[in-house]
């Protein structure tokens, strides 16, 4: 869903090409009208698809959010804002909103910084570059559900290799996924592991686009240390990439679901309950489609607001 909103913003661009003001000369008028018709015809397939697969479902979800529809019943009635009123008093929803916020606050910055760090290291490496690139990208390419099972074993409180290693150096290993105090951090760790590779690839692409002579110029101008050159050249030149990486990282973090579903089922006692998991439970397990739709609307609204705020704030400081 979040992907859709991200896509729908640039997709509106072609529609802004409104018909031009009518020019008095009739011949031009005809040819221009013809041109406009062709333009509409060319744009039509894309527009129909957008309406069919993005606009219509979103409208359907918004409408359902105002009903008491439950899967399996043939009728439903409109209940106004009742679902939204229930949402604000719902302990589970508040908890999952909070948990998602914490998860995002850990995973997004950590995976961006680590991704940048790894990209810089790989960029300066000449021998093993492609090996490291592949190694870091592997978690992105692997199936997260299968990998979650591996994590579940690694983080097992008694027979897991991680806690065995901690025991060897005399440290008591925490109950990573079992205890309410650590479960969100353990999931965040897995989330970072999964996204660093993706961010790294994006940063690598950004890094190769920086002209080499800028570095030489900076050096001549007195930026002797690599750290100076990083802040003077690399970071500003990576501006557009960083905006994109940040956006994608936040969306991905807010969308966390697979690891929660496979590893903890939101437990213990809702300590790892996140937004998409709550929506899934309400809609697909409890079958309360109306209520789940209201949650989805809130979820979409949060994402859209965040994206706009971010573009507004960051856009001003970035040089394209």
């Amino acid at each position: 869903m979040a992907d859709m909103t991200a896509i729908s913003i640039p997709a509106e661009v072609p529609r802004q090409k409104a018909p031009k003001p009518i020019v008095p000369r009739p011949i031009v008028n005809v040819s221009e009208r013809h041109e406009a018709r062709v333009a509409w015809m060319l744009a039509a397939p894309a527009m129909i698809l957008i309406v069919l697969f993005i606009v219509a479902p979103v409208i359907a979800v918004i409408t359902l959010g105002f009903t008491d529809f439950e899967l399996g019943y043939s009728t439903f009635k409109f209940v106004g804002f009742e679902n939204y009123a229930e949402l604000f008093g719902d302990r589970t929803f508040r908890q999952s909103l909070w948990n998602t916020a914490i998860y995002t606050a850990i995973v997004a910055p950590a995976s961006i910084l680590l991704g940048l760090g790894v990209a810089l290291l790989i960029e300066s490496e000449t021998v093993g570059r492609s090996f490291f690139r592949t190694a870091y990208f592997l978690p992105v390419a692997s199936l997260l559900v299968a990998m979650a099972t591996v994590w579940q074993y690694l983080l097992h409180p008694t027979i897991g290799p991680v806690n065995s290693m901690l025991a060897m150096v005399g440290l008591p290993g925490p109950n990573w996924l079992g205890s309410a105090g650590t479960v969100l951090y353990s999931l965040s760790m897995i989330g970072v592991w999964q996204t660093v590779g993706f961010n790294m690839i994006l940063f690598l692409a950004g890094l190769t686009a920086i002209p080499r002579d800028l570095y030489s110029a900076a050096e001549i101008d007195g930026a002797k240390s690599p750290i100076d050159r990083f802040f003077l050249v690399t970071l500003p030149m990576l501006g557009p990439t960083t905006v994109f990486v940040t956006t994608i990282s936040i969306i991905n973090a807010v969308k966390v679901f697979e690891t929660v579903k496979t590893l903890t089922e939101g437990g213990p006692n809702k300590a790892s309950e996140v937004l998409l998991f709550t929506i899934y439970q309400e809609g697909f397990v409890y079958l309360r489609v109306g209520y789940a739709s209201a949650m989805t609307v809130v979820f979409l609204a949060v994402l859209v607001v965040m994206m706009f705020a971010q573009y507004r704030l960051v856009d001003r400081k970035v040089h394209y």
Partner: protein, 422 residues
């Protein structure tokens, strides 16, 4: 192309003329959890078609879980895609019935009365798939909670593996000794996660019930519920049960690092396979807080008829009865560890009589059969959500962040809020 179609239709007409009397009914059957049930379904349907050549069984795409299964059915209900039969989790039957999805089986049973009893459908078994007295299905695969134990660890802790604990006090005492063995060994894994089934095992075992008889009041916070949560709390406090996730508990037990595991008989075949020769795996009846009147919840699923087409319903009833009958049970039990949902299958040497003599691990579930009562399903649109409240509060007891009385009161309060207002 046109020619070809003509040829085909001509051929079809000749065929139809050649075999006029052969009226064939095709039934579409849908089922969840192919990992568990695919082989079972294939075997049962093959045998059924041999015995009933005029009925053909086709399988719809199976759903990976019970939840997804019932979603599929609810989406397809009333459309032409709806299968004729499906298998629904016993705790979801009420939800399906509230949406009038299952066909009432009473008229079919009335016609078949004599043969029903003869084929081992006892009243206790029929009750498992009833909702408010309406027969919505026939129990197909049924399970009850049992005690699995690691005889090697029991022996090492000074216990006698041939005399497994019969009360929770004994489990806790022996568990504490097993925990004291050290070396990463844990005492107990109690499957409180996921749903309210194992809480019911403690509650029903103490003679309690979830709601009052008329379903208007919460009843699980009475003395029986107190005892149930106290056992859970003592397992942690006195026997040192760790906070496992579901998968972590299973892994630790099959790795030989846990003394006792309490969960469904349905997991037996898999547990036997995963343990292999690592240790001496045994099973026993689960301790009951009230050994005289204690009951146990029944897990599993029931075969449900969906088709409203009367011609098909007769064929569907035949298949339902066959699948839930002695032959079906004799296929389900050895492959999974479920207990027979059919008394004839359990006793007759033609079906499973010999199997139990040869496989003592399967006997614990069988011995508990007389205690099985339906897995309670809460009424109303929050029926399923309620169970999560119980799981969440159980987890507060297990991680000791709340006293048992406190957690029980909170659970009761929340459940009261979620029940339909009458």
């Amino acid at each position: 192309m046109k020619h070809f179609a003509k040829l085909l239709s001509a051929a079809a007409i000749t065929m139809a003329a050649a075999f006029p009397a052969h009226a064939e009914t095709t039934l579409t059957v849908h089922y969840p959890m192919p990992g568990f049930f695919k082989d079972v379904m294939d075997k049962v349907s093959k045998k059924f078609m041999e015995e009933n050549p005029d009925i053909k069984i086709e399988f719809a795409n199976p759903s990976p879980t019970y939840e997804e299964g019932i979603q599929t059915i609810m989406r397809q209900a009333g459309t032409s895609e709806m299968p004729d039969l499906t298998f629904i989790g016993l705790n979801r039957l009420r939800m399906a019935d509230e949406r009038s999805i299952p066909v009432d089986l009473a008229p079919f049973m009335a016609k078949d009365k004599a043969s029903m009893a003869e084929q081992g459908f006892s009243d206790t078994i029929l009750k498992l798939a009833q909702v408010n007295g309406k027969q919505v299905g026939l129990a197909f695969a049924t399970s009850n909670p049992i005690m699995y134990y690691n005889a090697d660890l029991v022996k090492a802790a000074g216990g006698n593996p041939d005399q497994p604990p019969k009360t929770w006090d004994e489990v806790i005492a022996l568990g504490a000794k097993i925990k004291a063995l050290g070396n990463g060994v844990d005492s107990v894994d109690f499957r409180w996660q996921g749903d309210d089934w194992m809480f019911s095992a403690l509650l029903f075992g103490a003679g309690g019930s979830m709601l009052s008889e008329d379903e208007s009041k919460v009843a699980f916070n009475g003395p029986e519920g107190q005892k149930a949560f106290n056992v859970l709390s003592r397992l942690v406090k006195e026997a040192g049960m760790p906070v496992f996730t579901k998968a972590a508990g299973e892994q630790a037990f099959v790795a030989g690092k846990v003394g006792f595991a309490f969960q469904t008989t349905g997991a037996l075949a898999n547990t036997i396979k995963n343990v292999g020769g690592k240790f001496d795996l045994r099973t026993a009846e689960i301790p009951l807080l009230d050994p005289v009147n204690g009951k146990l919840p029944t897990g599993g699923n029931a075969v449900v008829i969906l088709t409203k087409d009367e011609a098909k319903q007769d064929a569907a009833w035949k298949f339902a009865k066959f699948a839930a009958g002695p032959y079906g049970a004799s296929v389900v039990v050895p492959g999974t560890g479920y207990v027979p949902n059919n008394e004839l299958a359990a006793k007759s040497p033609e079906y499973l009589g010999d199997f139990y003599a040869k496989n003592p691990l399967f006997q614990a579930g069988l011995k508990q059969m007389p205690r099985m009562i339906p897995w309670y399903a809460f009424p109303g649109s929050n029926g399923v959500r309620v169970t999560q409240t119980i799981v969440d509060n159980s987890s507060r007891v297990v991680d000791q962040s709340a006293k048992p009385e406190e957690a029980l009161d909170d659970a009761a309060k929340e459940v009261k809020r979620l029940l339909p207002r009458s």
